[in-house]
Symmetry: C2
Subunit: 445 residues, 2 copies
């Protein structure tokens, strides 16, 4: 390159970009493989040679599938980010610290950083994006949200000028796998029991032994916060996100949703009110029309559906997790950051403003609510009285089963969340109500 | 910016980027609107002021909805691309010439170019990409393929190092609209007649008065060539693409596909053989499993499904046409090109190599084939003899109707295209065969 560009300072335009990788687990290991197999193709296409120069690990003697020359592995992460022989840093250790400190240190040394760390970005994103801009270096994080799906690039670049009104995402593979299996069982005439399906997902490796972060919506909430920040340029953190998981979704609810032309999905929803500029960010199970593109997102696949004033509807579908798809996203960022480094430039999600979060209480939707009730005269009357008392109007009421299995399912007209929650609270106190199921909001019409 | 970057040549880093627009039809007009409404938001986020400086039109006195200051409109396109007060050119006139010459002229003047011109890129892409690289300027064309869907950016950037094995796209909105309406009619018990549905699509403005380019697959073929070039780095032109349209798809075929768990879609398919490096690029109707994400791409929506070694499956869904979605894609490119211009850098699809095209005859698939036949003894025997004579093995054979409406439908096992085509040719010559329907290949399992 130096022959063609004599007017350039060569040190800022390396033809070889040496990568320091922090962590060598699933993602770090798959990235090392990907660099080994794809370096030639990348060099042919853009003239940049990618090399893995240093890899930091916690335990030097652990068994690893990756093939690395002597001296590449180290236990000293700080040494990697400050090493003058490292041009670009990939953070693949996860968690807040020491990842945060190491990323700031790498940026301060003028090294672009690629990360897949959703927890860190969902909590400290604004600080890190600002540090990257101040350093004039890339901080790219495609793999932090929806694994191999290039949604962050779309938001950061293609849709940069697009007035985005709503984003709806299936952004947790574990819960989508469980809901898909429950639905398949229900449609095959089975029960679609949540606990049994979770156990099956755990046995297959689709759910952790402690599944809380996935099934209760914490993981999706972190990703929703990152998406909201990129989509609206607003500082949204994980703590701003309302979340409800799938552990109370029942086969009976899935069956009635299907009869009405809907499937049940756990969605992350990010909305902006164009007049008040308030932002609503929430994760909860939702009823999606069967003909909606999100409805055919099955098993552990992820998808993000974006609605904008000009682009209309867009959807991005793919693998949300797994070493190879995540490494593929990291690798795309690495190539991008390497090209930017050679050109002494960098991307940016732009200036961020403080977010005004709309409380979940002030959002509106149609709701499906299932109740296990005592099978005795006057129950329907008592229950509907509670809805009426809170001004929540009922569109559909169905009774299923008899005796101890008696179950009522309601769908409301559009209602205020606070009114529906007050209804639920009062229903829980009714003696004739044995159990109140999860709320399903109707979405995407 | 000049205060912060005293080491830079300011002329290459304008804070205001003045846009010259060639053509002010649907897309050009919507772009002018988008710049007017979104310029403030873009400036807030990245410090660049976008301005429409010149707009060339064929007829100065035509009625236009766009609001432009005096002196912006001109009939002199060459004046726009050579105007020193124009920093960046948007080509929205379409066709090969004068668009090709104007783009080359703009690049030669050091101006990045954004275009939505699929015909031009599908025929002269390699020349234009090389001219852009030689000029060190962007030539961006997101809107040329699948309108508002950011598939080109994904291929150019996110998936730059990904070994892509196959791309399947619903990349023509007119045919997808017609097939969706035919399918809805068939599932509602109607006939799903092609000619009547085409007439309906024409009445609604979803099909042109002369629909040939859409319904016979020429339009999709041009887009498939552009996708193949970006996905594989190979010089593929429109003439390399095998194409078959939807005009022979019947309601009966759609009905049997549905019974077997498939829907019928017109797909552009781009495949690479990893060992021979041969590329197959073709457009034809195909049977897609109902649970496949492409199956829920309805009406005039487009989608592109990408399969790669590491990323696994990805899909990009959205509006494939229309002034606003197309302008949204153009606008995303304009912002990108403006940021690159400020940083004196540019993107590139990289070096291209010559393509070795695999002839359609050498591809393999399962096939569905419908025949209108005379209802007389021995017909099935005569017809199956033709299949057997070409070594094509039959998986399913069904007869529908009687008398003059008698119809045979076959699904083959996996077979070579040349053998199936030879079968079709011989069937056309049989006296008992009154009509041979379109071939439907089974895809995406």
């Amino acid at each position: 390159m130096s022959d063609e560009r004599p007017d350039r300072d060569d040190s800022a335009r390396p033809d070889t970009v040496r990568i320091g990788v922090l962590g060598c687990g699933n993602v770090g290991g798959a990235l090392v493989d990907l660099v080994a197999t794809q370096a030639d193709a990348v060099e042919r296409r853009c003239g940049i040679r990618l090399e893995v120069a240093r890899v930091s690990v916690r335990n030097l003697s652990a068994q690893r599938d990756v093939d690395l020359p002597d001296g590449v592995l180290t236990r000293d992460s700080h040494g990697v980010v400050s090493d003058p022989d490292v041009d670009l840093v990939v953070e693949a250790i996860g968690g807040i610290e020491p990842a945060r400190g190491l990323i700031l240190e790498a940026l301060a040394h003028g090294k672009p950083v690629v990360t897949a760390n959703k927890e860190l970005l969902a909590n400290c994103g604004a600080e890190l994006y600002a540090a990257a801009d101040a350093a004039g270096r890339d901080l790219l994080f495609e793999a932090a949200v929806a694994g191999g799906i290039p949604i962050m690039r779309a938001l950061r670049e293609s849709l940069y000028g697009e007035p985005i009104t709503r984003v709806m995402g299936i952004i947790n593979g574990t819960t989508n796998f469980i809901l898909t299996k429950m639905t398949d069982a229900v449609l095959a005439g089975g029960e679609g029991d949540y606990a049994a399906t979770l156990a099956e997902a755990q046995a297959l490796g689709y759910a952790e032994r402690d599944p809380t972060a996935d099934v209760e919506g914490y993981d999706a909430g972190a990703k929703a916060a990152i998406i909201a920040t990129a989509a609206f340029g607003a500082k949204v953190v994980q703590g701003d996100v309302y979340h409800e998981g799938i552990s109370r979704v029942t086969g009976a609810e899935i069956a009635i949703a299907d009869r009405l032309g809907y499937c049940v999905k756990l969605l992350g929803i990010i909305e902006r009110d164009p007049t008040s500029e308030e932002v609503s960010v929430r994760v909860h199970p939702a009823m999606v029309p069967l003909q909606h593109p999100l409805a055919n997102v099955r098993d552990s696949f992820n998808a993000v559906f974006v609605e904008g004033d000009f682009a209309d509807s867009l959807m991005f579908f793919g693998r949300g997790a797994g070493g190879a798809p995540t490494a593929s996203a990291v690798f795309g960022d690495v190539v991008d950051a390497a090209r930017n480094l050679r050109n002494d430039t960098h991307g940016s999600i732009g200036a961020l403003h403080d977010a005004v979060i709309r409380p979940i209480d002030e959002t509106e939707a149609e709701y499906l609510l299932g109740l296990d009730v005592a099978d005795q005269p006057g129950v329907l009357h008592a229950v509907t009285g509670v809805f009426a008392g809170h001004g929540v109007s009922i569109r559909v009421a169905e009774q299923e089963g008899n005796g101890p299995d008696a179950r009522l399912v309601f769908i409301t007209h559009s209602a205020l969340e606070s009114a529906v929650q007050a209804t639920v609270r009062e229903l829980r106190g009714l003696e004739v109500v044995r159990n109140v199921g999860g709320l399903l909001r109707v979405v995407g019409g």
